[in-house]
């Protein structure tokens, strides 16, 4: 059974149809990269799965259970937003404590990223004074902290320094090998090439294709994802 199943999902903002009857399913132990031009509905799709955007029609099933307008399933999801915005007055340490407080009871904590990024040394810093990159690190640490079955990462490495980006990619691969589902959006093709095993391409609110990376490359005869994409979309 698929972990997440989406059927006939529709969403429009006013007259603008953002998602047009999207159906797809995501399995465990996969890294799915959601690609598409700007305003193709990537973020709306992600936010629908997270329950932040409420779809007009269609269904989202998590382990076979419909989840629209419910919230309990979110304890199995870790989300790293594109730009992490947190209350300015709160300190990093307090933020982590607060999230643990709110998500209680939770399984074992995964503090790997906190150590890797050296965030412990900054526990006393306020969120408001952090640089964009450090905020991204905090978001990433929060997403992985509760050992969720599903990780949803929106442009995870944008703004991270090369070392941290490498560490995060390593972490993503590690979580995959532990049977987790990881949904990633990214505009960096080399990165997608490196970590993803399936590509979901959205175009104007519809799925243009949803194929394993290897199949995609074999069909086009290209070695690099970027070139394969341009060949298909031509």
């Amino acid at each position: 059974m698929a972990l997440i199943e989406i059927s006939n999902l529709e969403k429009s903002f006013g007259k603008l149809a953002v998602l047009k009857r999207i159906s797809c399913s995501f399995e465990q132990g996969c890294i799915v990269s959601i690609l598409g031009p700007n305003a193709s509905g990537k973020t709306t799709l992600i936010k629908s799965i997270l329950g932040m955007v409420i779809p007009d029609s269609g269904e989202i099933l998590f382990r076979g259970q419909p989840v629209i307008n419910t919230f309990a399933y979110k304890k199995h999801i870790g989300y790293m937003p594109q730009t992490g915005c947190y209350p300015d007055n709160i300190k990093i340490g307090q933020l982590f404590n607060m999230m643990q407080d709110i998500r209680r009871p939770y399984p074992d904590l995964d503090t790997g990223l906190i150590k890797l990024f050296g965030l412990e040394a900054m526990y006393q810093k306020r969120m408001g004074v952090l640089s964009g990159g450090t905020r991204q690190k905090v978001s990433a640490a929060l997403a992985f902290m509760f050992n969720p079955d599903v990780l949803i990462l929106d442009e995870p490495t944008a703004g991270l320094d090369p070392v941290a980006a490498e560490q995060l990619k390593e972490k993503i691969r590690e979580e995959k090998s532990r049977g987790k589902l990881i949904l990633v959006t990214s505009h960096i093709m080399s990165e997608v090439d490196e970590i993803a095993d399936t590509v979901l391409y959205l175009f104007e609110g519809q799925i243009k294709f949803y194929k394993p990376l290897s199949v995609l490359k074999a069909e086009t005869g290209e070695e690099k994802l970027g070139k394969a994409l341009t060949k298909i979309l031509k």
Binding site: G51, M52, V53, N69, F71, K75, Y86, N89, I90, I102
Partner: protein, 255 residues
């Protein structure tokens, strides 16, 4: 729900605006009460000031805070917490903080200088008024999408309740002066939380005779136990209904 409220209270306590509000209220109350030997007159003056400042600060502060912590709300929605709990938690958090400011700012001087049934009534109705304007602030915040519109709408609501409404009542009285309006007036009063609060306090002061025939009618209705229950209930409705509407909108809102 209470966890969210806890973190909001911890955050607001650090804000200087609320401390300034508490100090402002206590300075106003202290100076009025100390300047005038007649406690009753002092309470009337306090009522007048409180009925303007309390709704204004409550509604504007709550709206501003709601929008300033919008990202935090987004973060919470992606967590395993129900939207009802998020909004209710926000209301409890913001409500407790502003209410505490009011109770300390006004309650302290009143207990010191004018501890009486009237003083108590001022505290109770002022508290209910604070909560109903926070509730209205939540409605204004969920109806609109951006901060400027939200604050604009909040100011409109305050403007309506404290100024426009009186104009409407006068116009109504003037145009229908040939008809018996007493009962209609009581109904009209219920449409404005500030008026409800004001009348409850003024009737405690036994100066309703100054308000003529209508005042006597008010006295016989609002002054009775039945009328008091009615007006307190109406104030509670002014807290519950806007919050309930806000919750309905928030549950269906895209973030």
């Amino acid at each position: 729900m209470l966890k969210i409220a806890k973190y909001i209270i911890l955050d607001i306590i650090r804000s200087k605006v609320l401390i300034a509000y508490t100090v402002l209220l206590s300075i106003i109350c202290l100076s009025i009460l100390m300047a005038d030997a007649d406690v009753t007159k002092g309470l009337v003056s306090i009522t007048t000031v409180v009925m303007i400042i309390v709704p204004l600060v409550s509604i504007v502060y709550a709206t501003t805070y709601y929008f300033n912590t919008y990202e935090f709300t987004e973060l919470l929605v992606s967590q395993p917490v129900s939207r009802t709990d998020i909004l209710a938690g926000k209301f409890i958090g913001i409500g407790t903080a502003i209410l505490a400011a009011f109770v300390i700012g006004v309650g302290f001087p009143v207990v010191l200088f004018a501890f009486s049934v009237t003083g108590l009534m001022l505290m109770v109705t002022g508290s209910l008024l604070t909560l109903s304007f926070i509730s209205l602030a939540f409605l204004a915040s969920t109806v609109t999408r951006d901060k400027a519109k939200g604050i604009g709408l909040s100011l409109m609501i305050w403007f309506y309740c404290s100024i426009i409404f009186d104009g409407i009542v006068l116009l109504f009285l003037f145009s229908f002066s040939d008809y018996p309006l007493e009962k209609a007036l009581i109904v009209l009063t219920a449409l404005n939380p500030i008026d409800l609060a004001r009348i409850l306090i003024l009737l405690q002061l036994d100066i309703s005779a100054l308000m003529g025939y209508t005042g006597a009618l008010y006295q016989s209705f609002f002054g009775s136990g039945y009328g008091m229950v009615f007006s307190l209930l109406m104030q509670l409705i002014w807290i519950i209904v806007p919050l309930w509407l806000a919750l309905r909108i928030f549950k269906r809102k895209d973030l």
